[in-house]
Symmetry: C2
């Protein structure tokens, strides 16, 4: 008897057969450009060539899908980092928001400097002052409360120059690159010196990178059970700084395997690029060089934030691809 089940089996076989045939034929059809915001210059060609290499089975450069790990710095690589890191803008706004509960801040540095918009006095407070501001604004609440604070801020804050939400000042070419890599079986991670809990509330929506694929700097937390409800309380104590030598350490701790592609824009990314590209195997390293003062910013060797100096020299030696934003990117910001 030819049962329904047998028919379905046959039908399924036929469907799969047609699907397989389509897969086989599709490559000869005109392709849609996966990187339309990239000009047809060397960096785009290098990316496409790398992806084709590692995804072509049976070649020495082929990399199995689970090992296709790509890591991206955030500030200056995926979104604007000038005139100051977005997270610092957040911290300064938080000081202003919290000021009514802290009348003493009107006369105490570095808070006084923030409240008066005195950037010179703030700079004079140095790293110690900055850490005090970060500690004060990023701790003393539960992780859930902090997530809400970040989400609310990121939804309303505006970049001073472009007058757009920060999440609109992400680079369209990099969004296309993230999507292109994922479409080719890559798992994309953010590996940032910025706070891990500052990025996670919006990384999935903005970059398509889920929280579990975000690596960043962190502070310590304490587990509490109160009235039968569990929470994690954020403490004013550094847990991990995910910058410079911290990046390969953070990658190893979170991902547990070596990436095959790394994207950065500053000396803070040097060790991540070394770790990714200098241990043999198929690999790809890229630096975003900010060269477009008109559409974005132009800076490299003598900048306070996101300095690109040693890494730029290393790029020449190690054949990392350097993106000249002005020349290589048709469009800067997201659609």
């Amino acid at each position: 008897m030819f049962a329904t089940r047998d028919f379905l089996k046959l039908a399924r076989g036929a469907a799969l057969g047609i699907a397989a045939a389509l897969l086989f034929v599709t490559p000869s059809l005109p392709q849609t450009d996966p990187l339309p915001s990239w000009n047809d210059t060397a960096p785009k060609a290098a990316i496409v060539s790398f992806v084709e290499k590692v995804t072509t089975a049976g070649t020495p450069d082929f990399v199995p899908e689970p090992e296709r790990i790509a890591v991206f710095d955030n500030d200056g690589t995926l979104w604007v980092e000038h005139p100051m890191y977005t997270q610092l803008a957040f911290a300064l706004d938080r000081v202003k928001a919290l000021a009514p509960q802290h009348p003493d801040w009107a006369t105490t540095q570095p808070f006084k400097a923030v409240l008066e918009g005195d950037m010179k006095a703030l700079a004079a407070a140095g790293e110690k002052g900055l850490m005090e501001i970060i500690a004060t604004t990023h701790s003393g609440m539960t992780t859930a409360q902090f997530q809400t604070i970040v989400s609310d801020w990121i939804a309303t804050a505006r970049d001073p120059r472009f007058q757009r939400p920060y999440t609109e000042l992400v680079y369209q070419p990099m969004l296309e690159l993230l999507a292109y890599l994922r479409a080719n079986g890559f798992k994309t991670f953010i590996v940032s010196g910025g706070g891990i809990e500052f990025m996670r509330p919006w990384s999935e929506q903005v970059y398509g990178v889920p929280p579990e694929q975000v690596v960043g700097s962190s502070i310590k937390t304490r587990f509490d059970m109160k009235d039968g409800a569990p929470s994690l309380f954020r403490l004013p104590e550094v847990n991990f700084i995910d910058d410079k030598v911290g990046k390969p350490i953070g990658i190893n701790e979170h991902i547990g395997r070596r990436p095959i592609a790394a994207f950065g824009n500053s000396d803070g990314d040097l060790e991540m690029l070394q770790w990714t590209t200098l241990a043999g195997g198929t690999h790809f390293g890229m630096l975003i060089h900010h060269t477009d003062a008109e559409r974005e910013y132009a800076y490299d060797r003598d900048t306070e934030f996101g300095r690109l100096d040693k890494a730029l020299d290393a790029a020449a030696v190690n054949q990392w691809t350097v993106v000249d934003m002005k020349t290589d990117w048709k469009q800067i910001f997201r659609n």
Copy 2:
């Protein structure tokens, strides 16, 4: 003109149509049991009911796929932890392997105790002695070297009672559960008190859990560049203990969102289960109760390793499902 392209479009449409029809019809066909090693007792019904709830769109219990995070303890939950943690067996074997390079160990505790198999003297060395053994055997090499050491050991070591490789002493019902959850859109993570780098070399092959989904205890590492080659050197310094209150902290650090299902077997998993199940939302908590001295082991409240005491009391209060291994599992070890 009816071009090849139009034909392919039509063919693709037809293929999709058939595929959709199959999807629609399939549920009415007899289903294969996804949990064949589970007896038809309450725990199996609870698992299936939970999975059906969170995967049924349009209901209040529905959970979108990216939020379907399930966390599993390892020792005693996914594989045997008696008569001692496998990682401790590894450490003791490493002491024996390294002894020729350390002649002083023949007369120095706790190493002397290990070399003479004197478990009483080893116990007398206490936690301090144990930490010394762990530090000595787990550090002083690169992460790549440690990975090779673990891989080689796990391939050859045998459990003393069952005389099988440790990776064969993983629980078949739990392997089925991991696969069942993944087939239903869950991302499965290991969250273990054991060493993160001890589990990663084999977790993907044995459990289908990739390195980036393993959370565990860790030691600090140092990034080195030597002769143009990057490496991470393992230091004899604790970085993080992923046990008890450390589990929710590790989950937050690595995953960044709250799991909806947690599986453990001891008081070390209590806080992970609280974090997962006591903050509202759809959730599932399960404890594996070792009740089968014949096929595996029977232990709970008064055991040195994997003590199940407070968590067992909490299970009753919080409606966590407790698996009675003897009654609920048709088969213990993997096929």
